[in-house]
């Protein structure tokens, strides 16, 4: 992402890297100290989400973890709203620097051993199976047809 620091100088910004911006494009300016604080806050919450994800191999995810994660997400949403709320003052009492190890951020595949077990047991389509499927379709159509006919008869009788 293109970004540049700058300094306020007589009600204008003196850009450090002015070559990044085209003449006509709109720009957004944030106080850099506040912005870094905001960025570190969100990083902290995301690291929190990764921590929720980290558990023993034998343990399974449960609803408590999900509730926790949703709470953290709620905080992120709040931070996102605060970004454009000029009344909010940032809290500079601490700054978070992410020291979470990369191995905790690794994505695990959603393809589980249960899915694999199901996939391995793919039925072989034999002519008999095909016929069975066909009959199922026919029976369903028959039932639908009967129901429609019955409704027709009821209408006719009522008239």
């Amino acid at each position: 992402m293109r970004y540049s620091y700058g300094i306020m100088d007589r009600r204008k910004i003196l850009l450090y890297n002015p070559q990044l911006f085209l003449k006509g494009c709109d720009i957004l300016a944030f106080p850099s100290k506040d912005f870094h604080k905001w960025h570190s806050d969100i990083k902290e919450y995301i690291d929190g989400l990764y921590q929720i994800n980290t558990r023993e191999e034998t343990e399974q995810i449960n609803i408590v973890d999900l509730n926790l994660a949703l709470g953290v997400l709620g905080n992120i949403t709040e931070e996102l709203e605060n970004l454009f709320d000029s009344g909010k003052r940032s809290d500079f009492s601490y700054q978070y620097i992410s020291t979470l190890e990369e191995k905790y951020k690794k994505q695990k595949s959603s393809y589980t051993s249960d899915m694999r077990r199901c996939d391995m047991r793919v039925p072989v389509i034999t002519p008999a199976l095909k016929y069975q499927n066909l009959m199922e379709v026919v029976r369903f159509a028959e039932r639908e047809f009967e129901r429609a006919m019955r409704e027709r008869w009821v209408e006719i009788i009522l008239i």
Binding site: G6, M8, D9, R11, C25, I27, F30, I42, L49, I63
Partner: protein, 121 residues
Amino acid sequence: MRVSEGEPRGRFAELYNPGIFQEHEEVIVFTRQEFNQIYTSIQEQINYINKADLHLDRSEDWKLIGYWPKIMEKVHILDANMDSIFKKEPLQTYLDAYLYESTGNHEKKATASKNTVSVKL
């Protein structure tokens, strides 16, 4: 947070409301278009997770095993987005497309040619 829009003019950038910043305060400047892309993407990920939660019946918590990897996938995108703010590489979010754009596009409309074009049949 205090924020102002503006327009770059050479080495200087003019703000629409410069009064909110103090003199000699350091500011960080983004292009509005790119920041919009990042912001929308972050919101999109959060919405996805919230929707997944809404669809999940709390009494059937075994279904969570299937949902969780998808949720973490979105968290990963969130993390990547936050990292890409301070990176020099082009944004990945340029590849995203949304049905409803939160802000209008700023592409200039093509003006019709003033010269009359004769059509030979």
